[in-house]
C-alpha cells in the first residue's frame, strides 16, 4: 500500500465574489473543471478554479442558497435554499428551467440522480421529496417523511438514497431491496457521503466527529475527531483515492485524516492551519485531481491543490 497522498494544502485560487457566507460549493460533473457556489447573497456563481475567474452569476433566488447539484451532463443544475422551492437552471442561459415548490420550509440540500431525471430535495420540514424532472407533474414522486427533524444532507446513489438528518439518523432508502435502514448516530448529521464502492459511508456529525460507518451492518469502522463541528453544517469528504478523509472546521481549518488509522494528517502537530477566517461550511474534493474546494462563512471559496505530485 503506497503511503496516503498528502492532502491538498497549497492555495491555488481564492474565489471571492460572494457577499456573506458561502454555503455550498460543488464541482461540475465530468472532469470537474468548474465549480459552482451558492451563498447567502442569493446567488449561484460559476467559477473556473483553474484560473479563479468567475464565469457566470445566476440570480433568481429570493433567499439564501443552501444546496446545489450539477446534472450529469453539466447542462443544468439545481439549487435550493430559503425559497422553499427547488430551482432547476440552465447553465448556458442562466435562466431557471423549472421552479419546484412543495416544501414547507427552507431546503437544505438538493441532489440529482445519475441522469438528472429525478431531483431529491431535503428540507427543514423534515422531508425528502423526490421530484420527477421528465414529467411536468407538480407532485413529488415520493416524499420520504421518516425523518423527525430537518434534513441536512442527501446522497442519491444509483440504487439508494441516503439522507442525514438533524435527528441524528442516517437513513438509507434502498430501492432495490425496498428497505429503509436507519442508523442512529446520535448527534445531528450534517453530511453523508458513501465511498465509491458503496460499502462504507462517511458521516459528519455535530459532536465534532466524522464517522466512517459500514453500510452493511451499520457498525462504526473508524471515527475522526479533534476538529470542531458543533453548530454549523460542514461536509466531510474523501480524497480522490479515498485514502484520506477531509473535513472543514468551525475555526476555519481543514482537517485531513488517514482513512485507516484515523490520525490527523497535517503540516503541524497541533492541527492544520487556519485557512479561512470563519467557519468552513463546505468542502469538496475533486473527483480525480488532488484538488479541493472549500467554502466558508467568510464569503470565499478557496481552491487547494496538492503541491507534490504534479
Amino acid at each position: 500500500m503506497p503511503p496516503s497522498p498528502v492532502p491538498p494544502r497549497t492555495l491555488h485560487q481564492t474565489l471571492a465574489g460572494h457577499v456573506g457566507p458561502t454555503h455550498v460549493v460543488r464541482y461540475a460533473k465530468g472532469a470537474g473543471k468548474y465549480v459552482m457556489s451558492g451563498g447567502q447573497d442569493r446567488t449561484v456563481r460559476l467559477w473556473k478554479p483553474q484560473t479563479g475567474s468567475q464565469i457566470q452569476v445566476y440570480k433568481g433566488h429570493g433567499y439564501e442558497v443552501y444546496g446545489l447539484s450539477v446534472a450529469h451532463d453539466n447542462a443544468k443544475f439545481a439549487s435550493s435554499g430559503g425559497d422553499r422551492s427547488v430551482f432547476i437552471w440552465d447553465v448556458k442561459t442562466g435562466q431557471t428551467i423549472r421552479r419546484i415548490p412543495g416544501h414547507a420550509s427552507k431546503i437544505n440540500t438538493v441532489e440529482f440522480n445519475y441522469d438528472a431525471s429525478v431531483v431529491a430535495s431535503g428540507s427543514y420540514d423534515a422531508t425528502v421529496r423526490l421530484w420527477d424532472l421528465r414529467a411536468t407533474s407538480r407532485q413529488a414522486i415520493q416524499v420520504l417523511e421518516e425523518a423527525r427533524d430537518a434534513i441536512q444532507t442527501i446522497y442519491v446513489g444509483p440504487t439508494q438514497i441516503i439522507s442525514g438528518s438533524v435527528d441524528g439518523h442516517v437513513r438509507t432508502y434502498d430501492l432495490r431491496m425496498g428497505e429503509l435502514r436507519a442508523d442512529c448516530l446520535g448527534p445531528p448529521v450534517t453530511s453523508v457521503l458513501p465511498t465509491k464502492d458503496s460499502q462504507t459511508i462517511l458521516a459528519c456529525t455535530l459532536d465534532s466527529t466524522v464517522r466512517l460507518m459500514d453500510m452493511e451492518t451499520g457498525k462504526l469502522l473508524n471515527s475522526f475527531t479533534s476538529h470542531k463541528t458543533e453548530s454549523y453544517r460542514c461536509r466531510a469528504c474523501f480524497d480522490a483515492e479515498e485514502r484520506n478523509v477531509l473535513c472543514g472546521d468551525e475555526e476555519g481549518r481543514i482537517w485531513a485524516w488517514d482513512l485507516v488509522d484515523g490520525k490527523p494528517l497535517g503540516p503541524g502537530t497541533t492541527g492544520p492551519p487556519k485557512v479561512h477566517e470563519k467557519v468552513v461550511l463546505w468542502i469538496e474534493h475533486h473527483v480525480s485531481d488532488n484538488e479541493l474546494v472549500s467554502a466558508s462563512a467568510d464569503g470565499t471559496v478557496k481552491v487547494w491543490r496538492g503541491d507534490s505530485d504534479r
Binding site: K29, K33, S53, K92, N113, Y114, L175, R211, G218
Partner: protein, 909 residues
C-alpha cells in the same frame, strides 16, 4: 210639432189646453222624453247660456260639457270618439303578485259607484232598523256586568249587532219576542215560581194569590232562561275570592258596589263632587242594579216592600235571608257579627304572636358593617367562642364583659383554673393504650382527620341521584375514567352507592373540597347515564378495551409548575420516549454502532422512482432475475457507484446499459448465457437495446441516401467517429494542444496510443461483418461508435469533412458544457468563434489521431459513453479498464487500478 198641432186642433174643438187630461203622461216607466216642441228651434233669441246643442232628433248634446260629466260627452260615448274600448291584454306573467282581482267597481263609473254607495246605505239602514229590537234583546241576555254599566249598554245598543239567526227568525214568526222565554204561556203563579227559581231564592211557598188579581187573568210568557256565562278565570286567586274585597266585606258577602250607596247617579255633566244627587240626576237608564233587568207591569217585589227592603242584587238579598232564616245554627262572634254559614266558633283562643318592641338604637350609633364582618371572621376562627351581640353600645358593654369568657376572665384575674375541664375518653384509657391509639391515629391521620372536616355539611343532599338500575348497568358498562385509575375507583364507588343505596357512604377525597366533590359526583351521574351499556341488540357488540389508555392527560387550566408536577411531568413525558429512542441513542453514545443503532424496515419506493432510477422495484423483482442479478451485481456495483455521483460517468443514456455492457464484456465466454438471461428478465434494457440498435441504421441510411447538405444533429453525433478516420494535418497539431494540458502526456497514455489504432480497425470490421449476422451473441446496443466508424470508411472524405462542419454547428449549441477547456468565453458566446471551433476540431482530430476511443465520448458523452471499444478489451490485460472509454469514467478507476494510469486521459481534457 205634433203636439202643437194637436193642441190647436183641440182648441178648435173647444177643449181647453189646461185640461189635465191633455197633460196626462202615459209614460209608466222611466223618465218621459222632453216635449218635442222644446227641442225645436223656434228662431227666438236665446241668450248664449240658455242655448243647448241638440241633434237632429232633438236630443240634447254636449250636456256634460259644463256640468263636468264625461259620461256622455263625445258622440255620447264614454269619452273618446271610438267609445269605450276594452283594455288591451297585458301579460301578468311578470307581475302576478301585483295583479288584483277585478272587482265590479273597476268597471263602474262615478255614477254607478255613487248609486252603489247609496244602495248599500239603504240596505244597511234597513237592517239596522229591523234589528233594533233584536239587539236589545240580545243585550238583555248578556251578563250582568254589562247591565251594570248603563253607558256601556247604551253604547252597545248603538253598535249594529249581528243578524238574527234563522232560529230566532222562526221563533219570532211563531210569536216569540226577544226577551221572552220559550214555551207556552204560563199563568202568573207559575211565572212567580219561575222567578223564584231563577233568582236562586230559597223556595218560598207562593203566597196566596188573589184570584181576582188582574194579574191572574192573563197568561204570561215564561221567563227567559239566562245564558250561563262563565267568566274566564285568568287570575291566580282562589275560587270565589274577589280581589277587590277585604276580609270583612267578603265575609259579609257584600261588595262595596255603587248599588249599595243608592241608585246610580247618571254619569254626565253638571254634578260636582259637592252637589247632592237629586232625583233628576238618577240614572234613569240604569237597569242593571235592580230587578234583574226585568220589569213587569205588576212587579211582584212591590208586594214585599213592606216586609223588607232589598237593596242590591237579588242574590245578595237571598243570602241575607238564609242567614236570618237559620237561627238554630247561627251564632255570633264576640263582637256580635253573625258567623258564616257552615262555620263553627272555635273553643280554643287563637294563640297570638308576641311582638317585642324594636331595641332602642343609641343616638350616637353609626352603622359600621366592617365591624360585623370582622366579627364573623373571628367567629369562624374560633368556632366555639359564643357570638357576642353585635349591637351593643360600646359605652354600655364593659371592655371585657362581652368579649371574655369566664375562663378568660379568670385567667386575667389570675385565678386558678377550675379542675372541671371536660374529660375526654382518652383520659380514662391507660397510657399504653393511649399511645397505641395515637400511633394508629398518626398513621391514618391523613384520612381520619380530614374527612370529618370536609363532611361537616350534610353529604347526602349533595349526592346526585342515579337510578339504581342505571347505576348497575353503568357499572358493567364502559369505564370512562380508565386513564385516571383514582377517579375510576371513585366512580365505581359512586355507582355502587347508587346501585345499592345506603350500603356505602361516599366521602370526598382527601384535599377535595365540597364543591369539587359534588361537581365530581354530578359528573359521575352524567357519565353513568351516558356510558351505561346500550340495551338491546347493540348492547353485546361493544367490548371494553382491554388496554387501558394510560397516556398523559392534559391538565386543565393554567399550567402552574410545581416541584411535584415537574417530577410527574418529566416522568410522564420521558417514559413513552424512553423505550423507543433511548436505547439507540445510548448505544450511539457508547459507540456501540451496529445492530443496536440500526433499524431496518420495509420501504416501498414509488414505481416511478424505480423507473427513473432504472431499478427494479422490490415488489416486481422476480426470482429468476434475482438469481442472475446476484451473480452480476457484486461485479457491477463498484462500477455503478464509481463516480461520486453517477453523472460523473459523463452521463450515459442509462446506468443499467452501462452495467449490462460491462457485465457482458466482462463475462467473456459466458456472455451468451448472461445476455439471454438479462434480455429475458429486464424489459427496459431490452427495449433500449432495440432502440439503440436501430439508431445507427438510420445513420447509415442517411449517410447513404441523404444529400451532403442535409446534416442533422444526429449526424453531428456521428461526426466524431468520422473525425477519427480523418487524418489530421500536421499543421493543425500544434494549435490543437490544450492550454493547460501538457502535450507530452498525450502519447504517454498507455492504452490509447499504441493499441487503439490497430485494434480499432478489427473491431470495426468485425462489427461490420457481425451486426447483420450475429445479433444474439453480440449485443447490438453498444455498437454505436463502431457502427459509425464502420460507416465512415465507406464515405468519401469530402463527405466527412462536410460532416465535420455540421458537427461544428452542433457543437456551437453545446459550447457551455463544462467538458471543454476552451469554455472561458462561454458567457459571451461569440457569434462565430471560428478560430475556437477550428481549434476544437483540430484538437479533436488530433486526439482522434492518438486515441480514438477516448475522444468520441467527449464530444457527445451523453449519448455514447457506454460503448467500450472492443479493441481495447483485447489489448489490455485487465478487462475492467477498457470498459470505461470515457475520460470521465476513468477517474473512477484509480480505486481499482493500482497503476493510476487513467489519469493521463483526464489530463487531456
Amino acid at each position: 210639432m205634433h203636439s202643437g198641432q194637436l193642441k190647436r186642433k183641440l182648441a178648435d174643438l173647444g177643449i181647453e189646453g189646461n185640461n189635465p187630461k191633455l197633460t196626462e203622461s202615459f209614460c209608466l216607466i222611466g223618465t218621459p222624453l222632453p216635449p218635442l216642441e222644446k227641442s225645436k228651434d223656434t228662431g227666438e233669441f236665446v241668450p248664449l247660456w240658455k242655448q243647448e246643442v241638440r241633434d237632429e232628433q232633438g236630443r240634447r248634446r254636449l250636456h256634460g260639457a259644463f256640468t263636468g260629466g264625461f259620461s256622455a260627452g263625445y258622440f255620447n260615448t264614454v269619452g273618446s270618439k271610438e267609445g269605450w274600448a276594452p283594455s288591451t291584454f297585458v301579460s301578468s306573467r311578470s307581475d302576478r303578485a301585483s295583479k288584483k282581482q277585478a272587482r265590479p267597481e273597476d268597471f263602474m263609473d262615478e255614477e254607478d259607484l255613487e248609486a252603489a254607495r247609496d244602495d248599500r246605505k239603504l240596505v244597511d239602514t234597513h237592517e239596522e232598523m229591523d234589528l233594533l229590537g233584536g239587539t236589545q234583546a240580545e243585550l238583555g241576555t248578556r251578563g250582568g256586568d254589562v247591565q251594570n254599566d248603563s253607558i256601556a249598554s247604551a253604547l252597545e245598543s248603538m253598535i249594529p249587532s249581528t243578524k238574527d239567526s234563522a232560529g230566532s227568525l222562526l221563533l219570532r214568526k211563531m210569536g216569540w219576542k226577544p226577551g221572552q222565554g220559550i214555551g207556552p204561556r204560563i199563568p202568573y203563579k207559575q211565572l212567580i215560581l219561575q222567578d223564584q227559581q231563577s233568582s236562586s231564592r230559597p223556595f218560598e211557598p207562593p203566597k196566596d194569590v188573589d184570584e181576582d188579581d188582574p194579574a191572574n187573568k192573563h197568561l204570561y210568557a215564561p221567563r227567559d232562561t239566562k245564558v250561563l256565562l262563565f267568566q274566564r278565570k285568568d287570575n291566580s286567586f282562589g275560587l270565589g275570592y274577589n280581589p277587590g274585597l277585604n276580609l270583612q266585606q267578603s265575609v259579609d258577602g257584600r261588595t262595596t258596589s255603587v248599588s249599595d250607596n243608592g241608585p246610580n247617579i247618571s254619569a254626565g255633566f253638571g254634578l260636582g263632587a259637592l252637589n247632592d244627587a237629586d232625583d233628576d240626576d238618577v240614572d234613569v237608564y240604569d237597569g242593571g242594579s235592580r230587578g234583574g233587568g226585568r220589569r213587569l207591569a205588576f212587579d211582584e217585589e212591590e208586594k214585599d216592600q213592606d216586609d223588607h227592603i232589598v237593596m242590591g242584587r237579588p242574590g245578595q238579598a237571598s243570602q241575607q235571608e238564609t242567614l236570618n232564616r237559620r237561627p238554630a245554627s247561627s251564632s255570633t262572634f264576640s263582637d256580635g257579627r253573625p258567623l258564616l254559614p257552615g262555620f263553627v266558633l272555635s273553643d280554643k283562643p287563637v294563640s297570638e304572636d308576641t311582638w317585642f318592641p324594636v331595641p332602642e338604637i343609641p343616638k350616637d350609633w353609626t352603622p359600621d358593617p366592617r365591624r360585623v364582618w370582622s366579627q364573623d371572621v373571628k367567629q369562624e376562627d374560633k368556632e366555639n367562642v359564643p357570638a357576642k351581640p353585635s349591637f351593643v353600645h360600646p359605652s354600655r358593654r364593659g371592655a371585657f364583659a362581652v368579649t371574655l369568657t369566664a375562663d378568660e376572665r379568670g385567667a386575667a384575674l389570675g385565678e386558678a383554673r377550675l379542675p372541671a375541664t371536660p374529660k375526654s375518653v382518652f383520659d380514662y384509657l391507660a397510657p399504653k393504650d393511649r399511645e397505641r391509639l395515637q400511633n394508629l391515629a398518626t398513621t391514618t391521620s391523613l384520612t381520619t382527620v380530614e374527612v370529618p372536616d370536609d363532611s361537616q355539611a350534610p353529604d347526602e343532599a349533595l349526592i346526585p341521584h342515579t337510578d339504581p338500575a342505571v347505576a348497575r348497568a353503568a357499572l358493567s358498562g364502559f369505564q370512562p375514567f380508565t386513564s385516571n385509575p383514582d377517579k375510576q375507583a371513585r366512580y365505581t364507588s359512586y355507582l355502587q352507592s347508587q346501585a345499592s343505596p345506603g350500603e356505602t357512604a361516599l366521602l370526598p377525597r382527601r384535599g377535595q373540597n365540597r364543591e369539587e366533590f359534588t361537581h365530581e359526583l354530578r359528573e359521575f351521574a352524567k357519565s353513568a347515564l351516558i356510558f351505561k351499556p346500550s340495551s338491546g341488540a347493540l348492547g353485546g357488540r361493544f367490548a371494553t378495551a382491554s388496554i387501558q389508555d394510560l397516556g398523559s392527560k392534559p391538565k386543565e387550566g393554567l399550567y402552574t409548575p410545581s416541584v411535584d408536577g415537574l417530577r410527574e411531568d418529566s416522568s410522564v413525558s420521558e417514559t413513552p420516549k424512553e423505550p423507543e429512542e433511548e436505547p439507540k441513542r445510548r448505544a450511539a453514545r457508547l459507540g456501540m454502532f451496529g445492530a443496536l443503532t440500526r433499524e431496518t424496515k420495509p420501504w416501498a419506493p414509488a414505481k416511478l422512482l424505480c423507473k427513473r432510477f432504472g431499478v427494479k422495484g422490490p415488489e416486481v423483482e422476480a426470482p429468476p432475475l434475482m438469481a442472475s442479478g446476484v451473480a452480476a451485481e457484486p461485479e457491477w456495483k463498484p462500477d455503478l457507484s464509481a463516480g461520486p455521483p453517477i453523472g460523473a460517468l459523463g452521463a450515459g443514456p442509462s446506468e443499467e446499459t452501462v452495467a449490462a455492457a460491462t457485465a457482458s464484456f466482462r463475462s467473456g465466454p459466458t456472455a451468451k448465457k448472461d445476455i439471454s438471461n438479462i434480455g429475458l428478465g429486464d424489459d427496459d434494457d431490452q427495449g433500449r437495446d432495440v432502440l439503440e440498435y436501430t439508431r445507427p441504421e438510420r445513420d447509415i441510411f442517411k449517410a447513404i441516401f441523404a444529400s451532403d447538405d442535409e446534416s442533422s444533429e444526429d449526424e453531428a453525433e456521428t461526426a466524431p467517429a468520422a473525425t477519427a478516420e480523418a487524418a489530421p494535418t500536421p499543421s493543425d497539431l500544434p494549435e490543437s494542444v490544450p492550454n493547460n494540458v501538457p502535450a507530452s502526456i498525450v502519447p504517454a497514455h498507455p492504452s490509447a496510443a499504441p493499441s487503439s489504432a490497430p485494434l480499432y480497425e478489427p473491431s470495426t470490421s468485425s462489427t461490420l461483418g457481425n451486426t447483420p449476422v450475429d445479433i444474439s451473441t453480440f449485443r447490438p446496443t453498444f455498437v454505436s461508435r463502431s457502427d459509425r466508424t464502420k460507416d465512415a470508411p465507406s464515405r468519401k472524405e469530402q463527405k466527412e469533412k462536410d460532416k465535420k462542419e455540421s458537427k461544428k454547428k452542433g457543437k456551437g449549441k453545446a459550447i457551455l458544457s463544462f467538458e471543454t477547456d476552451d469554455l472561458q468565453i462561454v458567457p459571451t458566446r461569440s457569434d462565430s468563434p471560428d478560430k475556437e471551433r477550428r481549434k476544437k476540431k483540430r484538437k479533436k482530430e488530433k486526439r482522434d489521431d492518438g486515441k480514438v476511443s477516448e475522444d468520441v465520448p467527449m464530444e457527445d458523452d451523453d449519448m455514447w459513453v457506454e460503448k467500450p471499444p472492443p479493441a481495447t478489451v483485447n489489448t489490455t490485460d485487465e478487462p475492467v479498464v477498457p470498459c470505461f472509454p470515457d475520460t470521465d469514467l476513468e477517474q473512477d478507476k484509480p480505486t481499482k487500478d493500482p497503476h493510476r494510469g487513467r489519469k493521463r486521459a483526464v489530463d487531456f481534457l
